[in-house]
Symmetry: C2
Subunit: 319 residues, 2 copies
């Protein structure tokens, strides 16, 4: 396999613009005009590259350490390669094989841990102590991450400003809150007041609870949901500061709706999405009345999913 | 399910621009800078809508009849609905269920035939005699079809004219030749001389043989290949007139390379493609040396594939 240097320089001058997709059949099925803003074709296959590239180009440290179940790790690995930094990604041993391979493929060192024995954060702290020249990057709770993800908000605002029918609402998956807080930041900076809804697995509903309580509520343990990108115990502090009054609301999404959404994206929109990526569409399925006959942008956050799991989900389709 | 009229007007003002995708991992895997020009997000999920919409907006007949194993049928069904024409699509009974459902979903009448008893062309002729006000649309051998598909050629030429590194070559799947002749027409009209290669299943190599012979050679029977969009007995006469001296060459593609290409698009580019849609990438896999270190555009012609077949192909991945 050739190295990066053996190929002519890729036109990698930062994040790729998001890809806007519409499907007549999907919209008719839902009774809502759905526009998919898909980040599945972002470099490294998820929106996380926006944040990772922003971090890598804005810190002066020669090395970056991050804990990630996959997508942020891939993104940081490529961002570090492009900026000439060393990169170590701490991943749970049970991570999907394709995600571990991808992080290594982009050139990072993978540090596998048994999460039953040691928490990811603890291992990151340990590595940081051993590598004082390294920047420890959070996948979401970091102003640089939010600023990087804000680029998607700018793009959606630009789209809104240039079309006849702007979005009535934007639905965004939420886990740690990095994407939602970034999108809100980018929209606000562009003077765009489109309401942003957060789509959260009902099985990991810390943000729904936090909004109701008026302060961050954290789950005791990492919640179990098929949307593995949303298995966070709570949103981050920096994210909460933006989200608390920045979102129009949060929609709890049943696991079955996530599966349906993955299947509908496959069948009616030809879009391969990972379960977390399908959360926004799943929120539409879970509560269609609120958005009936409106024009709604569903952000598809990523597409990196193991073929076995994917086919289990897609194969569940009635034939 | 709401009717089309119940939704606000879709912004359907003709074909969607193609979607250009790049994947660092795919390019590194191949040793070639691959840019995917994917038509999987075209209205109706394949490039065929370009042709169908052009036909529907350029003939005055109130009805259109076409024989199609699926993608052209879906495209014509939607094009007819948008232009207020009646539409009848003749399909083999053994067509994938999802394709039959889709054609019906767009509002066309589906006429199912047993291809062991009657050829599609014969049934189309029969229907045409019964419906003298109907236009009989060929999926490829029609100047209107070529003119419609030429829009993709214009788009690729525009892309070439506006980037630092234009494509060194463009690879296009070939069956009846409608897409390849259209792309060549569009490029030529734009003054773009990028070589266009036709990627054809080796199991259906009538065009490879035709090029060698200097005249159209037709298979005796419909060839058997997993690339169902390329199961044509020969290219059309209108297509041949453009293709004979218009293509840089034709590349015969083994079935195994088609499967590999579908799997690579899934795994390294998050792109759901149907087997016919993966032909151009498969041609790169089959003969990588010719395009090593070049910047190559692979046209992905469509993405409509039955989940069971798709998962069979993707599941073949080494884990």
């Amino acid at each position: 396999m050739p190295t990066h240097a053996e190929l002519r320089a890729f036109p990698l001058v930062g994040p790729r613009p998001t890809t806007l997709i519409e499907s007549v059949r999907l919209s008719e099925h839902l009774g809502t005009e759905v526009v998919l803003a898909t980040e599945t074709f972002q470099w490294t296959g998820s929106f996380k590259f926006r944040a990772a590239y922003h971090v890598a180009t804005h810190v002066t440290h020669p090395a970056i350490i991050a804990g990630s179940s996959g997508n942020f790790g891939q993104a940081m690995a490529l961002a570090c390669r492009l900026t000439g930094k060393r990169c170590t990604i701490v991943m749970p041993q049970r991570s999907a094989r394709v995600k571990i391979d991808a992080v290594r493929g982009y050139g990072a060192t993978v540090d596998l841990i048994d999460t039953r024995v040691m928490r990811r954060e603890a291992r990151v702290t340990e590595l940081a102590a051993e590598n004082p020249d390294a920047y420890v990057a959070s996948a979401y709770d970091d102003p640089l991450v939010i600023a990087g993800n804000a680029s998607l908000g700018y793009e959606l605002a630009t789209s809104n400003a240039t079309v006849e029918h702007p979005f009535d609402a934007i639905l965004v998956p939420i886990g740690g809150g990095g994407l939602a807080s970034g999108v809100i930041t980018g929209l606000k900076a562009s003077g765009d007041r489109t309401p942003v809804w957060a789509a959260e697995p009902a099985a990991a509903n810390d943000f729904v609870l936090s909004l109701a309580a008026g302060h961050i509520i954290a789950q005791d343990t990492e919640p179990d949901t098929i949307a593995d990108g949303a298995r966070t115990r709570s949103v981050g502090g920096h994210n909460w500061a933006i989200l608390q009054h920045g979102v129009a609301g949060a929609i709890p999404v049943p696991e079955a709706a996530i599966v349906d959404a993955v299947r509908l994206l496959f069948g009616l929109a030809n879009l391969k999405a990972e379960p977390t990526g399908a959360l926004a569409l799943a929120a539409l399925l879970a509560g269609p009345e609120r958005f009936r006959h409106r024009r709604v942008c569903c952000v598809v956050s990523g597409g990196n999913v193991d073929p076995a799991l994917y086919c289990e989900l897609v194969g569940a389709a009635p034939r």
